[in-house]
Symmetry: C2
Subunit: 470 residues, 2 copies
């Protein structure tokens, strides 16, 4: 990803200076301009270089966000919403400076409606904080992207993760949201009914808009009953094709798998080394089943039979919390294991998603491409969704290696598009994937641009993200 290829955004120095003056008067000490805080608010968790905002304001309410937006709108100053800073695509970077609105102190859980299976939260509440709060209700919020991200940020990037195969993504689990629009109007996108046919779906328009259409300040989320029983299972395959065929057959049978994760042999090697395990150096599927006690037994046993038919080996399933944690340790340690296996490296993170019928081909071609490129890039996948990631290890100081990884990431995106897939299954577009939007959406990119222009004509909302306005 040669960021320099994207148009440079011009800083509005005078507007920024004026807005900073006005906002400092209003927010006093809560407007921060220290280098450490500005650097932290351009944190990207990947090799993408940070681009600092001019100031950070810790907002405490939708009204305060509205005040900030109005000042920025008047002076044409960029606004960058910030949750926990776990974006993987430069989503919180400030390429033209501006104000980072930090929502982490908007962390109130406003309502839990147990009968309606929903909860309304401020945008800065993290998924773990919500689940901690729900502990005694018998309910939980399932979406788990790995990081303990803010729920507002997860909505903004249309996040998903390991259990989307059963519970869907943020697209499916946001009932409504409240957002401050670029003109300072506060919009609540829907009522709290489980479904509606009343007009355009503004909820789904803002979910995945990555802060480019408005600042999400509150949201109502769907909750689920904690399953009576949970079982975990694990199974090795001699090749990725067997793992994919097993997954497809299990889904066609209607087994409601809660999680089904693929680790390739390179990932298994990294995890064996890191966690002192001894799984065969072959593709591994990790599964979780949710249901009644009899139900999860039935699901696991049926899955085991399907795996057998497709060359699976070492199938094991368990139900106790201790045993489940043992089996899933391999997956939970995955990120750290891969990091530890490439000391001193940063990562070019990829995120393609293809129709599941193409997944085996896509993974196989990608693995061959990685080998040929001479890079180290273990693959993990949310295989029930057709989504997989390769983390390509690079030395950021080695321009040639970075360029090689970027070229490989581009080939991965283009390969996914050619297979009727997407350049990003769950990480969002941010800065890094803007170049692919026209390839993926064709004339749809113009429709997106028309919507952006209609709602944010001065492009003050997280400029330089999602769309390459040309």
């Amino acid at each position: 990803m040669a960021l320099a290829d994207l148009e440079p955004l011009v800083r509005n120095e005078q507007g920024i200076a004026t807005a900073l003056g006005v906002l400092r008067q209003r927010f006093g000490e809560r407007l921060k301009t220290s280098n450490s805080l500005r650097e932290q608010h351009a944190h990207t968790t990947t090799y993408v270089p940070g681009q600092w905002p001019d100031a950070v304001i810790f907002a405490h309410s939708s009204d305060e966000v509205r005040e900030i937006v109005r000042v920025c709108a008047e002076h044409l100053v960029p606004i960058i919403p910030f949750g926990t800073g776990t974006s993987l695509e430069g989503g919180v970077n400030a390429p033209a400076g501006g104000i980072s609105i930090d929502l982490s102190e908007m962390n109130a859980i406003l309502a839990v409606n147990a009968e309606d299976l929903d909860a309304t939260v401020q945008a800065g509440v993290t998924r773990k904080a919500l689940n901690e709060h729900l502990r005694d209700t018998g309910l939980f919020f399932p979406i788990d992207p790995g990081a303990d991200a803010s729920l507002g940020g997860m909505a903004a990037t249309r996040a998903s993760g390991t259990n989307a195969v059963r519970y869907g993504t943020m697209r499916d689990n946001v009932v409504n949201l409240t957002a401050v629009m670029p003109d300072g109007r506060v919009v609540t996108t829907a009522k709290r009914a489980r479904k509606s046919s009343a007009g355009y779906d503004l909820t789904r328009l803002l979910v995945g808009s990555e802060g480019t259409l408005g600042v999400i300040t509150e949201l109502t989320l769907r909750l689920y009953g904690i399953p009576e029983s949970i079982s975990a299972a694990i199974c090795s395959f001699k090749d990725v094709e067997g793992a994919c065929k097993t997954t497809i057959a299990a889904m066609q049978c209607g087994i409601p798998m809660a999680r089904i994760e693929l680790l390739d042999a390179a990932s298994v090697a990294a995890i064996n080394a890191y966690s002192k395990l001894d799984y065969p150096l072959a593709p591994l599927l990790l599964l979780e089943f949710h249901g009644t006690e009899a139900g999860v037994r039935e699901q696991a046993e049926l899955f085991g039979e399907i795996a057998d038919d497709n060359g699976g080996s070492g199938f094991e399933w368990v139900t106790s919390t201790e045993d489940r944690n043992r089996l899933w340790q391999a997956r939970h340690d995955g990120f750290w294991a891969v990091k530890a296996s490439a000391p001193g490296k940063e990562f070019v993170v990829t995120d393609v998603c293809v129709p599941i019928s193409r997944l085996a081909d896509c993974v196989a071609e990608t693995a061959a491409d990685i080998t040929q490129s001479g890079l180290y890039g273990p693959i993990v996948g949310h295989v029930g969704d057709g989504n997989f990631h390769s983390s390509l290890a690079v030395d950021p100081a080695d321009a040639e290696e970075v360029a090689r990884a970027e070229a490989l990431a581009e080939r991965m995106a283009m390969r996914a598009l050619a297979m009727d897939g997407t350049c990003t299954g769950e990480h969002g577009v941010g800065q890094g994937k803007r170049r692919y939007i026209r390839f993926e959406h064709g004339a749809g990119a113009d429709v997106m641009a028309a919507i952006k222009t209609a709602i944010d004509p001065d492009s003050i909302m997280n400029p330089g993200k999602v769309l390459a306005l040309d």
Copy 2:
């Protein structure tokens, strides 16, 4: 619904005459102007008066739709997409004339991807035709709004129906769609991956837009494996509250009910008379469970226990197709039973949806309101979604009775909104509910108007629907 309250749309006589001339040259005999066909294409299935288009063209491809749209765009002539004409809110009416594009001959099933659990169809394929085509694949498309509507029309109105509680609505089950936009560009909104974070969600923007942003010509839909076993159950309750409490408790337990339908005592009376049954004249729940053989047994038995705890009586569950059809006959005959119970009447159909915790109150207050109004209006509900309908019987020639029913329908919509619900759960806005959009969405109505204006600046796409542009 006093349609006269809405602004009259002005006919562009000259543009219509010119466009008709151009289109007649291009489409010859496939452009129809007979009164019978024009009348049929303004068919509304309710008491809403029809407003005829000037001509009907039976399109055969996205390219032909694009040709029609380009001519209409050039001459500022309204375009009204037409599927099967089962709209309940005047969705296919032509208040300012124009061209009805009939998509019923675009009825090809373009692809069934069994491994990916999806199918791509032309917009005129009906849901029953798709399921007939899928018969030997072990897969099915679940969304069932009652009518054998076209899948394009179902997407356009964000339809749902009896099994949305398990399988979601059209919002959740459209993978992507192809639409001809008002400027004649053809947009495919997404690739075929199960999830994506690549830019704004144009799929969800067009689902539910009721033809006001573009003409849907093709769509890819999610399919599901036909469950190994299906069981049906039935249970009476002394009041609606018991039925609602049972539903809430069952959902909190995570019972994955495939259908859960409420009939009020008036509906039961109509059905007893029509179908020669003898159910107690009390609220009735009808259920369907999908799963493995052991799973549906477990679900049904658990549900029975919960119903017992909440005053349910006469609980019965069955699995054979014959027995299931017997139990569900009451629901399948519902529409005809109600029609037969009010001979010579037309119906003002309502469609509110509230958070399920408010459903018992909403139904009770509505029932009292119906009684007080002196109207006949049995209630049926998709109780797992908090969605219910009362069909208010009126003599269209009796202006006072129609006005009384319209006032009642308005109170129902406002009551639902006051309970954090929606004026339309699944029928769409059409002409009839435009007046409620501002009450439901507040400033969100302005955002919708901005989107409409950006995409369809001349308002040629199904004008006079969804938004009251003021």
